[in-house]
Symmetry: D2
Subunit: 358 residues, 4 copies
C-alpha cells in the first residue's frame, strides 16, 4: 500500500503520519518524488481499509494498494519515480538510473593475477569505464574447471581499485564469504545461478551494499523482481537488475538468448535501474558490439562488457571477451549513440575524479 | 561448392566455365561481387574434387566447399556479399539489404473493410512507409475467431495499392491460394506457423515472387535458414527473413521473446536481408517503439509495424497495434536514428514516386 | 453450450428439441452417454440464456456452458464420456479409446520400396500391430534430404494393406495431396510441423477420414486442442491426438522431450483418444521400449513405434527405429503390461481377421 | 581414467597398484563389480599414457579414459555397475539402487507443527513409506510467503523420526545451516533452485551424508550430472538424483513438465540412483497417481510424494499434496505395479523393523 502526501505537506506532519503507521505495526518508507512525499507501507496491509488510512491526515492525497506481488520493487511503490542508485567509488559517485548517463562496467571474467587485473583496470578506465568487474569466486559447471582464486583475488581487486580509482563489482556465491566480498566490492554481484538462493539474497540485503542481481537462466520477470524484493525487504534499496541472456531452445550460435525487450517491460514494472550484459548473453565477442548498441537503444542504464588482455589464453569465458583494442573501438562507437539518446557522460563526472559531483 | 573467378575474367571464359559445370550435371549460379564473379554450384558436389574443378580454367582463383547445411542461403555462397532484394512497387523499386536504407512495412493485422485499409494505407504512406501489410487469410488459433476476409480482402489490398502506390505484403496459408495471393502481393509472406510447411515453401519458391519468411515460434536459426533454402532451391533468390519473437518460458508480460541478437548472428551466416517485427514479438503497442529502435541499432534492414486506425475495435491483434498518431511519433523518433546508423531514406527514393530511381 | 436430456427421453422429443435448436440457427450434435442424450450446441451461443433453453422442453435436465475455448473437443461436450473412434481396416474394425485395448501402430519412417514396406508390414502384423505407418510425403528440414517417394509410395502402402490387412496411417503435407492420401490411408496423419496449418486442418476435417493430429514442437496443450477443434468444427469427430515430444532447452541426449503427463492432463480436458510416439520423442531406439512402457502406465490408448528392417541403412530416422527383432521383444514386454492395466488385446479382435467383431 | 583389474587379482596386488597411483599424484577409488575390481583415477590424467599405466601390473586387464565430463558420476567409472546407496534409518537400512525395491518418500511440503508432522509420519509409515520428507527451510519465490519454521522444524522432524523410525529427508538452503540439517536428516536434500549453488554442493559433499540432488528447473542432463560430480569430487559417493519437472513453454495445466525419459537416459550415463517427484512435476494432486505409475514403468528407483493431512489448509504446495486417503489408494495401486517390474518391497525389509536386514 502506498500513501501519497499532498505537495508542500509540512515535514512535521509527515513525521506524525509515519509514526501513526508505525503504531499500526507497519514499516513505512518515505521517498520524495516531484515535490511530493510518497510513503510506502509494508506489512500486513491486506486487512487495512484505504478509507481509514486516508482519514489519518488531511494532507494525505491518495491511498493506493500495490497490486503486484513485488511491492517495494514496483513502480507504484515510488509513484513512478525511477530509483537513482548512487555508488561511491574512489573516482567519485557513480549513479545508476534512468535520468543519468550510461554506466560502463568492464573487465575480465575472472581475476587471474595481479598484472592482468591491474593492466585491464587501467585500460578500461582509460577507455571510459566507471567500474571494473572481475571474478574472485567463479561458478563453473565442472568441479574440475578453474574455480577462481577466491580471497587472494579479492586482494588483487582492492589493488586495482586503489591504482585506478574504479569501483569494483564482484560476485559472491556463499553466505560465508559475504563479509569478505563486501569489504572490497563497491557493488556485490549475485549471479544468475544464485538468483533464487534466498539465503544469499537475504544476507546480501542485510549488508546494505549495492547489489547487482543477475537474472536466472530461466527466471521469469516476476520471479526476478521477487528475488529483488528479497533484498529490498531486507532493508536494502540499492538493487540493480542485470539481464544476461536466458535459456531457450536454440544454443547453436549464441550461448544464451538476450531478452532485450525486458528493458521496456521492466521500465513499466519497476523503478530499479537496468544493466545489460551482452557478453554472457551472446557468448561470442563478435556479437557484443552490436548488442551493446541495441541495449543502449532499448534504454538500458548500464552495460557490463567482458574485456581480457588476451582472450585466447583466458582461464574462463575467453570466446566472449573483447580485447582492449576491441573495447576501445566499442567505446568509440557507443559514446555518440549514448549521446544521441541523451545518456552521454556528463562533463562533471569526467572532471571530478575526487568524488564530489561539482 | 563455390568457385571464385579471378578479377577481370573475360565473360566468355565465365560462360565456358558455367557450361562445363552444366556438363557435370551441376546447377551453376553466378553472381558478381566486388569485381569478381562467384559461381555457386548446387547438386551432387560431395563426390567432386576441388582440385579437379580448379583445373577447369586458369581463371579460377579458388574453389571452396560450403560447410553449412544451408548452401545457397550461406554467406559463403555469395563470397560474403549481402543480397540486395529489389521489389518493384507502383512508387518505384524498393531495395531490401544491408547497403540500403531501412525499409518500413506498416499496416493492420487484417484487412477489415475498404475504408479502413485504404485510410490506413494513406496514413502509413504519408508517414514514410514503403509497404502496406494486411492479412487476407489469417492464421488464428481458434476456428471460431475471425479468419480473414480471404479473396475479397485481396481485392481491397489491390485497391489500396492503386490508391497509394505502396507495395503490398500479405500472407499465404494454403498452396491452393498461392496464385491469387501472388497476383496482388509484391512480397508474399509465409507466416511463423507455416515456416516448416515445406510444400508451401517449394511452391512459393516456384512463383519467383519475393518471399517474406517469418521465423517459426520455436525454430532454431539453422531450421529457419534451411526453410529459406527450400525457397532458394526452388530457383527463387528473393527471400527476406523476418524475426517476430520466439516462444520462451515467460509469456506474462510479452507475447513472445524478441530474439534480437539474431540480427548479427544471421549477418555472419547468410547474405539474406533481415526484417524485425516488434509488434508480434512484444504483443503490446507500448513496447513497440523502444524495440523498433533497438532493432535499428542491431542492424535490421527493415521493420514491420502493426498500425490500425482504431486498435481497440480491431478484429485481431488490437493490443499490439499502434494508432496512426503513435506511428507518426515512432517514425519521427526512428528517422534520425536510422540516419545515425547510415540507413536513412535516400532523397532519390523520396523524390521518385514514379518508380524510376533517378 | 451443452444440453443434457433426462434419462429415457423419447426419441421423438429429442428430434423436436434438435429441430428447435436448428431454428435458433445453432448446429446441434447429439451423442449418447450413459443412457442419456447430450446435445452439444455450436454457433453464436454467447447471447443465449440457459434458462430460456431449459424451457424448450420438460425433458431437458440441465443446460451448461462449455467454458473451455475448445468446445467440441472438451470433455464437457460429451458429458465426460470418452470418444471411441472406430477405424475400419481389412482386418476388421479397430477402436481407439479409453475403454478399448491398446492399439499398436508400427512401421518405418518412410516407404522406401515395395519389398521393404511389405516385409515390414508382415513383420509388424505378425507381431501384433493393427496399423502400418509409413511416410510417402516426408517433412525434412533440408531440401536436399530425401523427401519421400510421394504418390508412388502411396501405391506401395495400398499393396501392403492388401497383403496384410493392416490399416494404413500416413501423413499429408499439402491440401493438394489430400484426396490421394485419403484414398489409401485409413487414418490421415497431420504432422507436428503442420499442427497449425489451419487450411490443412479444415480440409482434412472435411474429408471425414479419421485424423491423427500430432502435437506441434512447441504447441501448448490448449493450442493443440484448438487445432483438433478445427477438424471437429469441420464436421469430423474422428480425431486422435498424438504426443511425439516437445522442444525443450536440452537436446543433447534425446531428440525431443516426451511430455508424458500430457496423458492425464488431456484425459481431464478432452474426450479424444491419445496416442504416444516414443520413437520421435526420444529419437533413439535404445530409449523406446522403456518409454513405451511408461506410456502405457500413463494411460495412453495407442502407441506409434518406428520399425525398420535395417535401421542403419534407413533413408530417414534410422537411429530411432527398432529392428523387427527389437520390436518383437518390445511387444513381448508390453503385452503383459497392457493386460495389467486392463488394456490387453481382446481375443475377439485377434480371432476375427475378417473384419466383423464377433 | 579407469583401470579394470583381472578377475581374482590378489588383494595385495591391488593395494600395490593403488599405492603406485598415489605415487603418481592421482586419487584412486576402488570398487568391486562382478568379481572384478575397478579402480577409478581422478586427477591430472590427461597427460598419462594408458599404455604406461597398463605396464604397472600384469593383473591390469584394461585401461580406459572416461570420455564424459562427469567422471565419477559416469557409468564407465563403475564399469557399468549401478550404485547401491545404503541409508541407515531407525527402521533399518534402506537401499536406493537399480537392483533394490522401490523406495517411497512421502510427507508434507513443509513442517507446520508437531501434531501435523508426527501424524503424517505415522500415516505414511503405516502405508508403506520408508522416508518422511518435510521442509524446515523453504525456498519461496516471495519474501512475504511462509519461509519454513527453520531450526524448530528440524527438532520436530527429529521427533517424527523417533516416533516412527522413518528416515528423514529435508532440504538445506544455506551452507551456514548444513551442520544442523545434517544432524537430523538421514538424506540431505539440495533443491532445484540450488542445483548450481556450487558452494553448497561442495560443503554438502564434505559432510559425507547421502545427498538428494534435485534437477534445476532448466538444467540440462549434463549440468545436473556435473552438479552431482561436485558432491562426488568432495569425497561423497552417496548421491541420489531427483527429477522434479523442468520448465517448458506450457505451464497452463501443469506446474512443470515431467521429463520422464530422463530415467532411461540417466541409466545409460550414470550409476547413480534415480528418484522421481511427480508432485512438484505436475503441481496437481489429481495427476500424481498416474505419473507415479509411469515413473515406475520408466524404471525409477524411488518416488517422492507430497502428502498432507489437509491439503486445503496447507501453508505451501496444497494443490499438489495427496490426502492420507489418496496416498493409501496410490500405494495400493503402485504396489502390484512395482512387483510387476520386480521392484516390490522385500519381505525381509518389511519384517525387520529393528534395523538389521535378516
Amino acid at each position: 500500500m502506498i500513501v501519497i502526501m499532498k505537495t508542500y505537506t509540512p515535514s512535521e506532519e509527515i513525521a506524525t503520519v509515519i509514526q501513526e503507521f508505525r503504531n499500526l505495526n507497519l514499516t513505512p518508507e518515505a521517498i520524495e518524488s516531484n515535490h511530493k512525499v510518497v510513503i510506502g507501507l509494508v506489512g500486513d496491509t491486506a486487512s487495512l481499509n484505504p478509507d481509514h488510512i486516508q482519514q489519518i491526515s488531511p494532507f494525505i492525497e491518495r491511498v493506493m494498494r500495490v497490486k503486484q506481488p513485488f511491492k517495494r520493487a514496483s513502480s507504484e511503490f515510488r509513484n513512478g519515480e525511477p530509483s537513482s542508485i548512487e555508488v561511491s567509488t574512489p573516482n567519485g559517485i557513480v549513479t545508476f538510473g534512468l535520468n543519468h548517463p550510461l554506466v560502463i562496467v568492464a573487465g575480465p571474467c575472472s581475476v587471474e593475477n595481479e598484472e592482468m587485473i591491474v593492466e585491464t583496470a587501467k585500460v578500461v578506465k582509460a577507455t571510459g569505464a566507471q567500474f571494473l568487474r572481475g571474478g574472485a569466486y567463479k561458478p563453473r559447471s565442472s568441479p574440475y574447471a578453474f574455480q577462481g582464486h577466491g580471497e587472494s583475488a579479492l586482494n588483487l581487486l582492492a589493488t586495482a581499485r586503489e591504482v585506478t580509482g574504479l569501483g569494483i563489482i564482484t560476485e559472491v556465491m556463499d553466505t560465508a564469504d559475504l563479509e569478505k566480498v563486501a569489504e572490497v566490492a563497491d557493488v556485490v554481484q549475485i549471479g544468475a545461478r544464485n538468483m533464487q538462493n534466498f539465503s544469499l539474497l537475504k544476507k546480501a540485503g542485510a549488508t546494505g551494499k549495492p547489489i547487482l542481481l543477475k537474472r536466472g537462466l530461466s527466471a521469469t520477470i516476476e520471479e526476478w523482481l521477487m528475488a529483488a524484493e528479497y533484498i529490498l525487504a531486507a532493508g536494502n534499496p540499492n538493487v540493480i537488475l542485470c539481464e544476461r541472456g536466458i535459456r531457450s531452445f536454440d544454443r547453436q550460435y549464441t550461448r544464451n538468448t538476450l531478452d532485450l525487450s525486458v528493458v521496456p517491460v521492466l521500465r513499466s514494472l519497476t523503478h530499479l535501474p537496468i544493466m545489460i550484459d551482452p557478453s554472457h548473453a551472446t557468448g561470442f565477442s563478435q556479437f557484443v558490439p552490436t548488442m551493446a548498441k541495441a541495449s543502449i537503444a532499448s534504454g538500458a542504464d548500464s552495460l557490463m562488457i567482458e574485456v581480457h588482455p588476451s582472450p585466447k589464453t583466458a582461464l574462463s569465458d575467453g570466446p566472449q571477451s573483447l580485447t582492449p583494442a576491441d573495447f576501445r573501438e566499442l567505446m568509440q562507437e557507443i559514446t555518440p549513440l549514448a549521446q544521441f539518446f541523451g545518456r552521454g557522460a556528463t562533463p562533471e563526472f569526467v572532471k571530478s575524479p575526487s568524488g564530489a559531483i561539482a
